[in-house]
């Protein structure tokens, strides 16, 4: 099945690679050399937030502690994202190599993969793969004869979207309710069980062995000035060739639509439910941290789709998936959804619209974690970019589900 999902070879992650070569090379380097390569690569977190990996590792390495942890965030829950699944299924070695290199660099002895609950069927194959690695002395005590030991555990999540947020993920790992923590302290200082922890996305970790092999400066030649390298994207929706692609940062929406053979496209939702929705006039915008940032999800909607129905679907998602602890996210999303329902009934007023936009702005700055801070994105961008359709009940025709 995944063969169909993965669309073609890519420049980096999907390029030719000899299994475990990155790991072997990394273990012959010093920690400082690894951090140097990562810093010169400018690799940023691929989960969406875009925090520089080298900084995260450096902070965790610098933290004084008897125990440290590497956590791989494989809770791929953003609607429309499935690129990590391809990596988990087809190239688990890249992920595990990345985790071991991380452990080696920061001084951790244990790594944990927080696997999305829905990917439960991958637990056994991943464990089998880990056993093989142990047999080959790529995991366990004194890896490849070095004075470095590392083990990896697979932990299955239980399906809460918020657990993709790194601190909620850590709470869930500890057996608590999946709720975001107060930050600071950050996980690099107090993470899993209170110990310094680096939490990295599957894709970020999978990139590391390639950077080790070919060098940070080689890596940084790809992409744009502020977004280096490539990005795995999961394309879904109205196109002929949906699937996972490795694209260079800076690719425009136009080029992407051409690549996946999409026609009559009306809207593209970049970044999943928490991303932004662009209209035709914005298709020259590029996929990059500095323009349209995405953790990997690209959803394409053609002219037959009803934007209001799409928006309602997104807001229903957030109403249900808010962890419920902080006021702006728990109640705010309900109010945004209620307003969408009002538009559907043609009962909205413009003063209400202004007030609700103000609420959306409050949610963006006052929510406790990234979930509530980004959940108003589709609401604001769809209302802004498709206002003719949304607010003209004649042009949008009869309301139907997507």
């Amino acid at each position: 099945m995944t063969e169909k999902i993965r669309k073609r070879d890519g420049l980096i992650i999907f390029s030719e690679y000899e299994k475990f070569s990155g790991l072997k090379k990394a273990l012959s380097l010093s920690q400082d050399d690894i951090l140097f390569e990562l810093k010169s690569s400018n690799l940023k977190g691929r989960g969406g937030a875009g925090f520089p990996i080298s900084t995260k590792w450096m902070l965790t390495a610098a933290a004084q502690s008897s125990e440290k942890y590497v956590v791989c965030n494989a809770d791929e829950g953003e609607p429309g994202t499935f690129k990590d699944r391809v990596l988990l299924k087809e190239m688990p070695y890249l992920i595990f190599e990345g985790m071991i290199i991380a452990g080696y660099t920061i001084g951790a002895k244990k790594g944990i993969v927080y696997l999305r609950g829905e990917y439960n069927y991958l637990v056994n194959p991943l464990n089998e793969f880990l056993d093989e690695m142990k047999n080959e002395n790529l995991l366990g005590e004194n890896i490849l004869g070095k004075d470095f030991s590392f083990e990896i555990e697979i932990f299955s999540g239980h399906g809460a979207y918020v657990c993709g947020e790194e601190t909620a993920l850590l709470e869930s790992l500890e057996g608590q309710r999946g709720e975001a923590r107060n930050r600071p302290p950050f996980p690099v200082n107090r993470g899993y069980k209170g110990f310094p922890t680096t939490v990295n996305n599957v894709e970020s970790l999978s990139t590391v062995p390639h950077i080790i092999m070919k060098g940070g400066s080689w890596y940084s030649q790809f992409g744009t000035e502020k977004s280096k390298g490539t990005k795995l994207i999961s394309v879904s929706g109205d196109c002929e060739k949906p699937g996972v692609y490795e694209i260079e940062w800076g690719t425009s929406i136009y080029d992407l639509l051409e690549l996946v053979k999409a026609e009559n496209t009306k809207a593209v939702q970049v970044g999943g439910a928490s991303g932004v929705c662009v209209n035709k006039s914005q298709f020259d915008r590029t996929i990059a941290y500095e323009d349209l940032s995405t953790g990997g999800s690209i959803m394409i909607f053609n002219e037959s789709r009803n934007m209001l129905a799409i928006l309602k679907n997104f807001m229903e998602f957030f109403v249900e998936e808010s962890c419920g602890q902080c006021t702006p996210c728990r109640i705010g999303n309900q109010k945004l959804l209620a307003f969408v329902e009002k538009i559907i009934q043609n009962e909205q007023t413009f003063s209400e619209l202004n007030k609700i936009k103000e609420l959306a702005e409050t949610m963006k700055i006052a929510s406790k974690c990234g979930l509530g801070q980004s959940s108003p994105n589709p609401f604001l961008s769809i209302l802004e970019n498709f206002k003719e359709e949304i607010f003209d009940s004649n042009s949008r025709g009869k309301y139907e589900h997507v």
Binding site: I331, K335, E361
Partner: protein, 639 residues
């Protein structure tokens, strides 16, 4: 807060804790912060909220509570930090590097306004009929932020049924604003764990295990959640209507007894500073309301000391001299019904260590419906006994089925300090301006030993004053200056004291039939401990089970509430450590000037043992009326 900081607190609820050095500037442990343009140097790790308060800037809060670990969930206290795009919750943000903060920028005001509007939209606000009308933090916030309309709506429909199945605690979840203070109180402060956030998204709410009713969960009724609830979502089960009915019925002889703590706190309900004692005024008020007799629970506290002290000496005698294996030491106090239920649920195996003496409230009830009934010629069925207590658990205690050894319910109604204040207001009385009056005979004024029951360590101090005198024959003032046993006072979580018995005296007349002499105690060291808050009690129990030092102790006082009864779940709201210490101060300073400060010297106590309980403490009649037994409840077997 450090005192209540719990190791098991989820990290999500912990701010970065940094030990603050005494002179941070000397070792580079301080950091500069700019608040609204003004500079301040603070120890590293100080939260923005603390820094703002140091500078006199008011930042509104809702989920924050000084007694509890950090939550950072309500987002009312957000402020703008330069260089950070999202606003930051000031309660949970530790200052570790120089930062510049704006506490009231347009962005901040707008966000706070919206957050408050959102909270109000989900709160089923029925201010007129709400027990917290005029003492509600959400109401205050809405006033502070000038809420004029409900831009996001205002809920009027019922979503959650009111749960009034518990004798003690009523939950009205439609008024809950999800500040999680009750959850943090129950799990982290008290380590009981009845309440927890359940569900997700719009279904998120504070619930119980399997959504059971409050009468069917392992709640110990301490009511600490009530004291920290910002709204009326949690309150005590109020028996006022039934008490008014009894008062208005000329057939009924309605007696009220008052515990020591309400008098030290009720002034707060009338706008007075915490720590203003209103004993005499309250007596007058209760008579004006229509109670036929006003008695001091301290009389029964003195009685408890005699019974419990004798029980302790008997236990030690049986254990150490007679080698009776059925006797368990240490003896734990049993006057706190929250603590008793805690043991019944979580540590039923230590029930044999609980003193069998009833609490003063219940003892008094039994005495009123027998001894007092005989003396006054009023039939017990016509006597209605009301107890004003600082406590919500006392409501449950008086409804325990075994509490009727006289053939009548010992205590008919438990009333909280807050509810008594309400009855006083309903009677058109302004309490602080009333003339003072005494307690009624035949019990009159009690000893100071009974009075200090209100603060943590008080029962222990009262017991020691009596037990040490009975054993040594020496005056307690010769052992402790001013007879103040300072080692057991104060708010430290667990206090200990070891007293060597160097010489012993004659066995007093009242105990002669129980113990032949005290020689076996000569040279012994009496070890006692005091814990307040069930989390601290848990530490002691665990220590005993592991065979630690407390296994060798003789007598341990436990009060379920932080601070003891003065911080009880029936006391005026709000509560914090400062308020509790002021209340304790009021009790100790009132006690200092009393003539009689030892339970066994109370003439009324001597009288009841000569007239009624003629077999002395722990005699047959005492056992029937003044002692009780406990129920193994466990965590699932609940009723």
């Amino acid at each position: 807060m450090s005192m209540y900081k719990k190791e098991r607190t989820p990290i999500s609820h912990q701010a970065l804790f940094v030990e603050k050095p005494a002179h941070p500037e000397d070792i580079g442990g301080s950091v500069s912060v700019k608040i609204n343009g003004k500079d301040l140097i603070v120890p590293m790790g100080t939260t923005i909220l603390e820094a703002c308060r140091m500078m006199g800037y008011h930042v509104p809060t809702l989920c924050h509570h000084e007694d509890l670990c950090i939550a950072g969930v309500c987002r009312v206290c957000v402020v703008e930090v330069d260089g950070m795009k999202p606003l930051q919750a000031s309660c949970s943000f530790p200052i570790m590097a120089p930062i510049s903060i704006k506490t009231s920028s347009p962005k901040v005001r707008k966000a706070r306004q919206n957050v408050i509007d959102l909270l109000i939209s989900e709160h089923k606000g029925e201010c007129y009929s709400c027990v917290r009308n005029n003492n509600c933090e959400l109401q205050s916030l809405s006033k502070e932020y000038g809420v004029e309309s409900y831009p996001y709506g205002h809920r009027t429909e019922t979503k959650h049924k009111i749960d009034n199945t518990s004798y003690s605690i009523v939950r009205e979840m439609d008024k809950c604003v999800h500040c999680l203070r009750c959850v943090r109180t129950c799990i982290d402060l008290q380590e009981v764990g009845v309440l927890e956030a359940v569900g997700r998204g719009d279904e998120t709410h504070v619930g119980t295990f399997m959504e059971k009713m409050m009468s069917d969960v392992v709640c110990i009724n301490c009511g600490q959640c009530i004291n920290r609830c910002p709204t009326g979502a949690l309150h005590a089960n109020d028996p006022r209507d039934m008490i008014w009915e009894a008062i208005d019925n000329p057939q009924k002889h309605v007696i009220i007894q008052t515990a020591p703590s309400p008098r030290a706190a009720i002034g707060e309900e009338f706008g007075l500073e915490p720590g203003t004692s209103l004993t005499g005024e309250m007596n007058t008020a209760m008579r004006k309301i229509g109670f036929d007799r006003v008695f001091d629970t301290n009389f029964a506290a003195d009685l408890t000391i005699l019974e419990e002290g004798t029980e302790l000496l008997l236990r030690l005698y049986k254990k150490l001299v007679l080698n009776d294996e059925n006797v368990q030491v240490p003896q734990f106090t049993s006057c706190c019904p929250g603590w008793v239920k805690f043991v019944e649920h979580f540590y039923p195996e230590i029930i044999p260590n609980l003193s069998t003496t009833k609490s003063p409230q219940q003892m008094f009830g039994a005495v009123l419906k027998t001894y007092y009934s005989e003396k006054s010629g009023i039939k017990p069925e016509d006597i209605v006994t009301v107890a004003v207590m600082p406590c919500s658990a006392k409501k449950y205690e008086c409804n325990r089925p075994e509490m009727n050894s006289s053939g009548y319910k010992d205590i008919d109604f438990g009333l909280t300090t807050r509810e008594l204040a309400q009855m006083i207001r309903e009677s058109g009385i302004y309490l602080p301006e009333l003339e003072k009056s005494e307690f009624d005979d035949p019990f009159g004024d009690a000893s100071g030993a009974g009075l200090i029951f209100g603060a943590t360590g008080g029962v222990m101090e009262a017991a020691l004053r009596t037990v040490l005198e009975l054993v040594t024959g020496k005056k307690i003032e010769n052992l402790f200056e001013n007879m103040d046993i300072k080692e057991v006072r104060g708010f430290e979580g667990i206090k200990t004291l070891q007293i060597p018995v160097t010489e012993v005296g004659e066995v007093p007349e009242i105990l002669k039939h129980l113990v032949p002499d005290w020689n076996w105690l000569k040279g012994a060291t009496i070890k006692v401990a005091v814990a307040h808050g069930t989390a601290n009690a848990k530490k002691i129990i665990k220590n005993i089970k592991e065979g630690g030092e407390f296994a060798g102790y003789h007598f341990i006082e436990v009060m379920a509430c932080p601070g003891g009864c003065i911080g009880g779940g029936g006391q005026p709201i709000p509560t914090n450590e400062k308020i509790r210490s002021q209340r304790a101060k009021a009790i100790y300073s009132e006690e200092k000037i009393l003539n009689e400060r030892k339970s066994h010297d109370n003439p009324k106590i001597k009288k009841i043992y000569s007239e009624f309980l003629t077999e002395g403490p722990c005699g047959h009649l005492s056992h029937k009326l003044l002692h009780t037994h406990y129920t193994v409840r466990g965590r699932e077997f609940v009723n």
